[in-house]
Symmetry: C3
Subunit: 210 residues, 3 copies
């Protein structure tokens, strides 16, 4: 196991960017799923579920690469436990997105409320913003605008989620449909919240290192 002695090993930043880019892929697959569900149905969501599973596996490999590097690197750019936590926060987002897609497939859902498109849009924007931000961990500069914007997106996501739940509870749908759709939109909401956890971890790292 070769020790790395450079004080700021650049590959951590590359790996975090890679991890966030998997989330860009994941959220694009979700957008494809919505387009598909407008048209055809279950077969397509089976294909989408496979794509999402692949994206999740790729993300897992990046996460493991980060953990492995933490264990084999002598000097890390910031505290080991913060690297570990950031990697694990990024991983959580993918897990929620993958579970949402798998649930749609497992429950045989063919329709979702139109407002789900707004949740997916929030996820796509949060993913892009996070991917753009990861390389900036190197300088720790101009990070505040990132977490302020993520907080704003999380707020938007929260409002959309509450509107969807109110609609589901309005009496239009049977109880089982309500439970199925609620499971899925709760997972999208959890994915959005998980982006906020990523941003909080970045903020705490910045606070510590400043």
């Amino acid at each position: 196991m070769p020790l790395r002695l450079r004080p700021n090993d650049p590959t951590f930043y590359d790996l975090f960017a890679e991890s966030a880019n998997h989330l860009v892929d994941g959220s694009r697959i979700l957008a494809d799923l919505l387009d598909t569900s407008a048209g055809s149905g279950l077969d397509a969501s089976g294909e989408i579920a496979r794509q999402m599973k692949d994206a999740e596996h790729a993300a897992d490999e990046t996460t493991h690469a980060i953990i492995k590097r933490v264990n084999s690197t002598f000097v890390t750019p910031f505290d080991r436990e913060d690297i570990y936590r950031l990697a694990s926060d990024l991983d959580d987002v993918m897990d929620y997105m993958e579970e949402a897609v798998d649930s749609i497939h497992l429950f045989g859902l063919e329709n979702l409320p139109a407002e789900v498109a707004e949740q997916i849009e929030v996820l796509q924007r949060a993913a892009s913003l996070t991917a753009e931000t990861m390389p900036r961990l190197r300088t720790m500069k101009d990070l505040a605008e990132y977490w302020i914007e993520i907080n704003r997106l999380e707020n938007t996501g929260d409002q959309v989620h509450r509107r969807i739940i109110a609609k589901l509870f309005s009496g239009e749908f049977d109880a089982l449909t309500v439970m199925k759709v609620k499971s899925v939109v709760d997972l999208f909401e959890a994915a959005i919240d998980a982006f906020e956890h990523v941003a909080n971890t970045v903020e705490q790292i910045a606070v510590k290192e400043s």
Copy 2:
């Protein structure tokens, strides 16, 4: 950005007390909501929802003031990440209380099980106790009685919550009503748990600093 060089900047204690006082306000608004819902109904809960939204905004400002001060203060009374975490734990309580009230309003709920009054009482007592305790962070003395009492309150809240759920699942109510009321009482339970997270964070800070 002026550096503060006094080893124990007193304003952190003031800000934590201020943050906890917003929770005292929030839990009183919840108590008002129950009184109201005994009498009239939705219109009033609209007014209560606005009051709660205001309380949440005030709490957000205090949280931001704490974060800002962490970033501009040279010597902090305890670890930066613990200050950050305590601020964020206190903020979580308010978020759950606000979401509960907003949900009652959104779902058009006009009645809640009588036992909800016991949840609110737990929240009011936990809020008062937390507000009284924050100034004592300065000396780190006599904190054990605080977290023991919060654990006891959380236990009581847990028992009440389980009784409410058993009642909701008893067959008296239609499925949609069960889901709506469950969403609300789960949020009250989450708010009570969040007070326990605050107490755990205080305990961990005390353990570290002792």
Copy 3:
């Protein structure tokens, strides 16, 4: 309060092993519950609920003993906050198992889907593995195989949980039954996830200390 000056107080390892052994007991009680529910019903689950409550109290006492020792020990084998967190992660597993059993009793459930046996098996294996691993914290050696296996078990648990939910949502059951059973199997899933949190904490301690 006598100070302990030995650099690696052995009793922390004993206490963590004791804490994990309570989880072995708890998961065995769950297995007994399933055997029972195959035969008789509610009366028996009342007896099981009492056994589980006893196991939870015993676990609480171990947790408190760990916290007390952290507060009275001068030199701890690893960071105070990590000891605190590991104790609290172990405690969480028991809380979820106890709440699941109490829920079965409270909701008067007499049957659970056959797949629940697979969840309990995962819990029993995770508990044994965790109990075997705790004494190895002393040397911090050969821990990787533990967390890799826990991740694998959590994955299995996740797949089983998704299958159970898909079955519950298939239309065979009335909405209230779905909600009751879902509450219980979600708690078993939370207990499995909590074992993964224990493993993550162990991994982070190992990363820090290595």
